[in-house]
Amino acid sequence: NAGVIQTPRHKVTGKGQEATLWCEPISGHSAVFWYRQTIVQGLEFLTYFRNQAPIDDSGMPKERFSAQMPNQSHSTLKIQSTQPQDSAVYLCASSLDWGQNTLYFGAGTRLSVL
């Protein structure tokens, strides 16, 4: 079991460019979460999928951010027209089932917007 896999580990973009972050949840896990970590805000919930369907995106900035889960083996977080304030570590997590206990986190993608 390789755990939750996130790619790339580091991404550097210029202001205004697009960034796509990838997450491969643990096989068989039906719930996938995206979080963002910054020094100022700590860990913030962004969005959550269950069986590939978006359930709660209340933490997503309304503009420029979008997340998809086209199949059960991967999810993407896309940030359009990146801004310096988007710089953060983006974490993906999965759990076996909704309402099910332990979340397993990937190592994260460090996004730096110059």
């Binding site: 700590g42 206990n101 986190f105 994260g108």
Partner: protein, 109 residues
């Protein structure tokens, strides 16, 4: 205000001593999870509790949903325990895991 208030924000311990981290919740939470960030920045699961207490080695955690708090006790601290510890709580719908801001633990000889 924050739903999960974690304290202290920083903690210094000498080897062999112990202390407790605490998270207070402003609403009723279904469960709590404690994590430690490792040297690679990954979040390592320490405990998941829906109630009661759990113990693993020198770590022990408790969760009281009614009283709205959880604790993580560390005893006989070792140098390798140094790092950042996070608590996180599941809301009533198990939809979200809300994190505290973390405790930076430094264990010194």
């Amino acid at each position: 205000g924050d739903q999960v208030e974690q304290s202290p924000s920083a903690l210094s311990l000498h080897e062999g001593t112990g202390s407790a981290l605490r998270c207070n919740f402003t609403t009723t939470m279904r469960a709590v999870q404690w994590f430690r960030k490792n040297s690679r920045g990954s979040l390592i699961n320490l405990f998941y509790l829906a109630s009661g207490t759990k113990e693993n080695g020198r770590l022990k955690s408790a969760f009281d949903s009614k009283e709205r708090y959880s604790t993580l006790h560390i005893r006989d601290a070792q140098l390798e325990d140094s790092g950042t510890y996070f608590c996180a709580a599941f809301d009533s719908g198990y939809n979200k895991l809300t994190f505290g801001k973390g405790t930076v633990l430094l264990v010194s000889p």
